[in-house]
Symmetry: D2
Subunit: 140 residues, 4 copies
């Protein structure tokens, strides 16, 4: 995969910086490629569910955001995207140092884009799959 | 619908209090009935997406938690539940004073429970639907 | 709910009559209301899965078609709809004389409609829930 | 990927042969590997929707069955599986000579398996993606 155009990279960075929700969890952009974006966030107590693991809401938000930004990299520079719907299958507790989410465009489209995302929990350098998302984005 | 048993009410309250993620967003329990739980959270800057509205991650987390606790009210006191999968359809931007999410059990089961949730944005006393969720919980 | 406009009723009937797939299973229109359509199909051997019950493909097709036609009743007469995505939760084996599916529009829209459907298995006059669907339709 | 064990291959073939629904559409088994099964079905008039293309119910049924059999290849010989839930995103009209569906196990499990499926429309030797499915199977 090739790197996204610098205009698009800046647009994703600007949009990301405005997301209070992602900032709340110290989320970061790991990589912005054409049709694929990777985000991460540490597994902090403020993101935990009742057993101390990462809350499904964080896995969802990271996966959904990564998928939305992936869709954005394939649209014209002035476009925005909104999530129409998203399905998440949870595979394992989000246990580790941080979550990593990679979003991908499965089918780009002017009217709708079909996207997916994988979320892993990382401890040191080892990764374990935590969630899989499949959904639809609409240019806004 | 009838109120949930006091043992169950206390169990839901205790579990809720341990969720760092929900505390981060000042979420509160509104009502605990048998087979239906309602939660709410104010729409704060720390829960915003890039346009200043509530992040889909918050709608998801409130809906998913309300649905999970709804499932818990129909299980034996010692049971816990985990989300197997959840689908969310987003209906409108989460704009207003607060989000309200009501989770319901559509089909209880020993092995799996099928649940749904509706999420509204409330401004003063007027409510607007924001999201619909349908998913599966498993006793843990 | 009110009955759909006669123009819309005829349009749904005409479209239904062209669906080879639904004809294969002797499916019928039960009711066409504004924002809600009910279909049915007998549980024949040709619609069975490996244990002799109705195949999930039939529950899906009936629910999806009922939901799509429900969306059509709220759109201008010249519109068509396509399914963008559909999620089905299966509740019980499709065992009985026939399947009944009622589709509803949860949120109509010019760009997208959010829909749901319930599918029951009917034996004599008793009904048992078999499947729940939630999805998105797009005007075509 | 390696071929599935002969016992498992026979079990999938026996189960497949009992599915009246799949027989109705002249569906065939293309390949049975460990953790992945491919099915196909011709695009016949009896499987059409109102515009003459393949009905979403056929794409769903092929994808769901391929995914279910994929799950079966990773379970003990005496196990059966049922679909808990399935989400389908439709990418393009099912237009061509036949549909091909490959199901895969994303995460096998004793209690639940997470699966996916891709469905293509094939014309001669060219393939076009038609649908993507993601869902959950339970041993029965």
């Amino acid at each position: 995969m090739t790197r996204a155009d610098p205009t698009i990279v800046r647009k994703v960075q600007d949009s990301f910086a405005k997301q209070g929700f992602l900032k709340t969890f110290d989320a970061e952009i790991v990589e912005i490629l054409q049709g694929s974006v990777t985000l991460s966030a540490p597994l902090l107590p403020r993101a935990s569910q009742q057993h101390g693991y990462g809350h499904a809401g964080l896995s969802f938000a990271l996966g959904d955001s990564a998928a939305g930004y992936a869709a954005l990299t394939l649209l014209p520079p002035e476009a925005e995207v909104l999530t129409v719907e998203m399905k998440i299958n949870l595979l394992a507790p989000a246990r580790g140092d941080r979550l990593i989410a990679t979003g991908r465009v499965l089918r780009p489209g002017r009217r709708l884009s079909v996207v997916s995302a994988e979320v892993w929990a990382e401890t040191g350098t080892s990764r374990k799959p935590v969630a899989l998302l499949q959904g639809t984005m609409i240019p806004a």
